[in-house]
């Protein structure tokens, strides 16, 4: 009934970038396996290969001892392998029922059997504990509900191996509890479950064994009972976590306040948010997906309407209505969505680097000065590349991030906001970026880091603000910065 899986030397390349370097390990049937690894370790890619969404560049995939080659997700689903996506794969304009049966519609003759689908959809929704009308369009659901619809969709496929990629990232404590109850039940019915999460406490409590990946390779496996959280973290990072971060020097006494935000309200996202950051300070923002961190800063730089609130930069009241106004006031926001909002992946490196400053330097392009600036940035930010004439999309994640940082820093901001600066970045580039964050703070800038990696916030920041449901829950100082504290405030389970 349940499935066992063996990865044999799986390699995956996207263009010139190799993300999986020969992954070798097996998964026994009927267990809950926690798959651990930092962002960019290759977990999601490996799981997409297992579910037929991606094809491996090399290597073999064995399911129940038989070598399999999936041309698409249908082939994997035929064997009972279902992936619950981290990024939702739902058609926004269709209803919940239509999404659950997308591609597997039930038919009577040539026509759709709507009644049967509605009945079964309602049953699946009940299993995941989602109390909504199955005829609701997905676009009107909140993030957590969409996540539960994804899970219901996988259940409707009668999965024998279920892959959950960070399913709890957007769920509340109650919903998370229900999900774990469901997992326990599925396992007792013989379903193999692969569980991916950054929350080490969940790993500890709900998995039978953990498998650790790092930089596109298998690193270690262990029975969950035999490892503690600190060991898990060290295995993920590949060295003692403490070595990743440069020593913190606190901002100087009497350092001026560079950013003060008061009673910021962003309709639908953020209510009454206030905080202040001083020169030389690294200020973190923690919270679940959908807590409103990104939206708050998009509103501050004028990318989103705000209904209330004031923003003072270096003691001066501002009225920022566009990123251009923000730039003029010395405030820069680097998006979490590097390829969709941070860099022009189809344009060259020089074009990207000079994009924000090209106008300031006069109406005419100075290609020579641009090239010189690129050479300086490559040296300054440690951008590793084979060909300076390549397009930005050909760089690896870490080097793209360094290029994006260099681009935004050309505007010489007093306050710089980095949204998930190490997402999809390898360990080496991570260290470089952490060092760079410290350098920016040492130069007297105020640095704000939004991150979903708790280890990162704890290791990097002087203070961390925690948002939950668009409200500020707490601002934690150095002596209060622990994973438990951050999770407690982020999920709003304070006692």
């Amino acid at each position: 009934m349940s499935l066992s899986v063996r990865f044999h030397h799986i390699v995956k390349e996207f263009g010139a970038v190799r993300v999986l370097h020969g992954v070798d390990f097996g998964l026994d049937a009927g267990r809950v396996v926690g798959l651990l690894g930092e962002n960019g370790a290759g977990k999601s890619t490996l799981m997409k290969i297992l579910a037929g969404h991606e094809r491996p560049t090399g290597g073999q995939l064995l399911v129940d001892g038989v070598e399999r080659y999936f041309a698409g997700p249908r082939d994997a689903e035929a064997l009972g392998i279902a992936l619950i996506h981290q990024e939702f794969n739902l058609a926004e304009h269709l209803t919940v029922t239509q999404n659950i049966f997308l591609g597997h519609e039930k038919r009577r003759g040539w026509l759709l059997d709507r009644h049967a689908m509605a009945r079964e959809a309602a049953a699946c929704l009940q299993l995941v504990g989602l109390d909504i009308d199955p005829d609701t369009p997905v676009s009107s659901l909140i993030v957590a509900e969409k996540q539960l619809v994804e899970i219901a969709k996988a259940l409707s496929r009668r999965a024998r191996l279920l892959i959950m990629d960070e399913p709890t990232a957007s769920l509340s404590a109650g919903e998370t509890g229900r999900l774990f109850a469901l997992m326990t039940r599925l396992r007792s019915e013989g379903v193999t479950i692969i569980y991916i999460s950054h929350k080490l406490d969940e790993m500890e409590a709900h998995t039978d064994e953990v498998v650790v990946m790092r930089d596109g390779k298998f690193v270690a496996r262990a029975d969950t009972a035999d490892v503690d959280r600190r060991q898990m973290a060290n295995l993920m990072v590949g060295r003692d976590v403490a070595d990743m971060f440069p020593p913190r020097s606190p901002p100087a006494d009497g350092a001026p306040e560079l950013l003060r935000v008061s009673s910021l309200t962003v309709p639908g996202w953020v209510q009454d948010l206030g905080f202040a950051v001083r020169a030389g300070e690294i200020f973190g923002f923690a919270g679940l997906v959908g807590a409103g961190r990104t939206e708050a800063f998009e509103a501050i730089v004028g990318l989103r309407p705000r209904s209330d609130g004031t923003v003072d930069i270096a003691g001066q009241r501002t009225d920022i209505r566009s990123p251009r106004d923000a730039m003029r006031h010395g405030l820069a926001y680097l998006s979490e969505d590097r390829k969709g909002k941070g860099l022009h992946v189809d344009l060259g490196l020089r074009e990207n680097l000079t994009m924000m400053t090209v106008e300031r330097d006069g109406p005419w392009l100075d290609v020579k000065a641009g090239r010189a600036a690129l050479d300086r940035a490559i040296a300054d930010f440690g951008i590793r590349l084979r060909d300076p004439d390549c397009v930005a999309g050909a760089l690896s994640g870490g080097n793209q991030q360094k290029l994006a940082l260099a681009k935004y820093l050309r505007t010489d901001p007093k306050v710089i906001v980095l949204d998930e600066p190490t997402r999809g970045v390898d360990v080496g580039a991570k260290r470089d970026i952490y060092a760079l964050v410290h350098r920016l703070a040492a130069e007297g800038r105020a640095v704000i880091v939004i991150s979903s990696e708790l280890i990162e916030l704890i290791g990097l920041c002087h203070r961390v603000a925690v948002l939950h449901g668009g409200r500020l829950q707490a601002v934690l100082g150095p002596d209060q910065l622990t994973e438990e504290n951050l999770i407690r405030h982020a999920t709003d389970t304070r006692h």
């Binding site: 073999q60 969709g340 994009m355 109406p363 390549c390």
Partner: protein, 337 residues
Amino acid sequence: MPPTPATELSRKPSPTLPALHRLRGIGPPVALVLLCVAGALLNPDFATVDNLLNVLTRTAFIGIIAVGMTFVIVSGGIDLSVGSLAALIAGVMIVAMNALAAGAAPPGAPATIGLGIALALAFGAASGLAHGFLITHGRIEAFIVTLGTLGIFRAVLTWLSDGGALTLDFNLAEAYGPVYYGSLLGVPVPVWAFALVALAGVVILNRTAFGQHVQAIGSNEQVARYAAIRVDRVKLLTYLLLGVCVALATILYVPRLGSATPTTGILWELEAIAAVVVGGTSLRGGSGRIVGTVVGAILLSVIGNILNLTSIISVHLNAAVQGVVIVAVAYLQRGRR
């Protein structure tokens, strides 16, 4: 299962800009050269200086519009109204110049024509601004806005001309003639104008901050917005630029026939868009080449010219042959993303 063992996988070279440009840039010029060789072999009259200058002169209208269209398309937009706009500008110009000449104190032919040209430029610029404003601030799809104005412009012209022809006053036509029929250093005036517009286009698109922003917006509008580029302003300017290009083309066109009718400039929008696409600019925007557009425009009119000079394929099938070329070029350039 792919048979290649992982250890033997070789790394593919990274996609680089020069390689891409080489591939993309070479197609249309090669096609043009081949077509010219074929034309010369089929009819000795083809490769004469007179014939080639004639082809270039006729290409000038579409070519100038296509240069402006390249900016709009590279920024991710489209303009379907340029043919109707050209017709309306021609009509308005003729009506205004005739009225001036028939007035109580006519200012003399050169001054009248000068005023007509100024009016044409102002009208083109205003229409471009209106398009840009509706598209950016009105948040309406460019396709819809310009589909609307396509109908509006042509209907207004038809109404102005009462369904017939608006004809330029004979004396004015006489004085205005050299703008189309005249030559400078042996090269017709429209060809000079086309060359200057193309050169300006190359410089603006590739050598200015504005040009880089146009490409950045077409490549990914979100990234551009986040990078503090004034997206709306840049888009507005591309439509303004196109409006001025349409006015320039019309200024050259009016002295050719000295009249405007409801069929003036019909399908010019499609010819201009076709020239841009054949020249290697993606309809999705992001990157484009003015030189490619120029070659594309010439290529399309050379086809018509060869059909005219030879009897292998009927002239009536001109549009069909052009259509085959457009689809073939699109096929060769497909799927680079």
